[in-house]
Symmetry: C2
């Protein structure tokens, strides 16, 4: 317990075992060309001294850090932490550690983060911030850091891409709805929510334009409380609508505002959450949502990245289709 001494190094293990440090190194790395006898001897000393190899030195010697950098806008969204969870599990399975980087909405800052990723000497990086421009991502890739970009489209040898397949689904939903338009459809537009939301919005608008039907775009903050308050106001004058919201908590804000305004869901107000999580099940009525398995996506991202790192042959573009799950909040 009073053991506040400095790190035990491979030298001390070698000395006390009466072998060279090369042999100790071999023991650590489970080299099979070392006799069981010395292996045991060295392992004993390692245990006795409590020796732990330094990943820093190992990394420098092998120029591998067994570390994956993860860039996210913030850990504070349920769907992101679901993905993070998938990544940690798969990374653990494959022997990698995760290093976390967060971006802000500031472009200049984003570049700094990319540079930090490079400096940090990770073996590869996963970027889940589709506000970033390709230029920024290529900055990393150009340093020959293998990359997996989520919802960014890049073509390069050491870059993989994972896409959320939403457009098809959105078009179907809008098209279906248009056939029998009970009420006006609104898309909840949030600033700074990335390219995926933009893509979805575009699919929404395109379908309406093509069919020459009405639609509305409502701007809102990416916050439950703010959105709830906005919609309490909104529902004072407008009593009907079909609303597409980005995340569950925004959908919940609209749902609660509708219910608290004595509107009927789904008769008067219909609500669809685009990135549904388990919380979509917890409201009454439950919220219809697009389901996409973020845990699985996180795991796949890590898997794809390691394949790219190992120069394995793989399809470097993966698309995960979202699935529309109808629940009580839509007709």
């Amino acid at each position: 317990m009073e053991n506040l001494k400095n790190r035990v190094t491979i030298y001390e293990v070698a000395k006390m075992s009466g072998v060279s440090l090369a042999t100790v190194s071999r023991v650590i790395n489970n080299s099979d060309i070392v006799s069981q006898k010395t292996k045991d001897k060295v392992n004993d000393v390692i245990k006795k001294l409590g020796y732990k190899p330094s990943a820093l030195a190992q990394g420098l010697a092998t120029s591998k850090s067994t570390t994956i950098g993860v860039v996210i806008p913030s850990a504070n969204y349920v769907y992101i932490s679901n993905m993070l969870n998938g990544m940690t599990d798969k990374a653990k399975e494959l022997g990698y550690d995760l290093r976390l980087f967060t971006t802000s909405h500031d472009r200049g800052e984003a570049l700094k983060v990319m540079e930090k990723v490079i400096t940090s000497h990770v073996d590869g990086a996963i970027i889940f911030d589709d506000e970033l421009e390709n230029e920024e991502l290529m900055k990393i890739a150009s340093y020959s850091v293998p990359l997996v970009a989520i919802n960014n489209d890049i073509e390069a040898t050491n870059v993989g891409c994972i896409h959320f397949g939403y457009e098809h689904n959105i078009k179907n939903i809008v098209a279906d709805y248009i056939k029998n338009p009970h009420k006006e459809m609104y898309f909840i537009h949030s600033n700074n929510c990335g390219r995926l939301l933009e893509r979805i919005e575009k699919a929404f608008v395109d379908t309406h334009v093509k069919n020459n039907t009405n639609y509305g775009i409502l701007s809102s903050d990416d916050s439950y409380t703010k959105t709830y308050n906005d919609f309490m106001k909104f529902f004072e004058s407008t009593k009907k609508g079909y609303f597409l919201a980005y995340r569950d908590s925004l959908a919940m804000a609209i749902l609660n505002a509708a219910l608290d305004s004595n509107l009927k869901v789904p008769e008067d107000v219909e609500i669809l959450s685009l990135i549904g999580t388990k919380y979509a099940l917890m409201t009454r009525p439950q919220i219809s949502s697009m389901h996409i398995d973020l845990y699985q996506i996180g795991a796949s991202a890590v898997e794809l990245l390691t394949k790219i790192m190992n120069k394995e042959e793989t399809d470097k573009h993966i698309t995960f289709a979202s699935e529309f799950v109808k629940r009580g909040s839509t007709l």
Copy 2:
């Protein structure tokens, strides 16, 4: 773009700038004893070559990694990701990176994770997994890795502790309730949820025992769906109760089961969530909860850790009081 060359090193920068690598190092580290002229010259070359220092080599040379290890059971809880968010922000502010480690419920595995933390050569670690025993934590601390343990009680020079203050609040609530006992109180017991939950349960039981009042302990899985189904069954026979649940989603499970069983909340069924998040606001009725600012706690943990790392004088024990917020789910 075709730039798949190896890392640019300090040597190449030195050569191209016509200075020694010592000077380049000084420029990188903003040493003020280098002439503005050469500083500019070197910086130009750095930019031209796209040189980025290797954190690995820097770490080896300085025996500092500017990295903090974070040990959590899983990123998959809202309250944990709130905390994680506080940690990333504060760490960024202080110039540290976060390295993520997850534990499982397996004790043997836990020790492995601790060893990984040591090997990974982080400058300090924050442990938010109060299932771990002090023995395991001291393993890290004994390697002179500064530590902040959350909801674990340890006394050592390089260890800080952050506590959630719940007992007092719980006792008050139970005591208040006992004065006018409308219905029986139940504590929802989940296995493997750590020491904090055990502490709270103990405070709950103790208060009841002291007052010689009835109470119930219900076991449940740490899952929304499972808990919901369990309580749908439960409410077939039992029509009343005051339930204390660990997290919002468990509280929501009970709430929904009650409502779906045509029981009145809070008249028949009262519900309290122990670790309340924003989701407690999103149900109807809203869920009364204990509020504790996990973001703030995450930030404080990082701050405390860095102080310990820098040998600054600080109180190494911080307690965050939880606050009872009464909402519609209790009378």
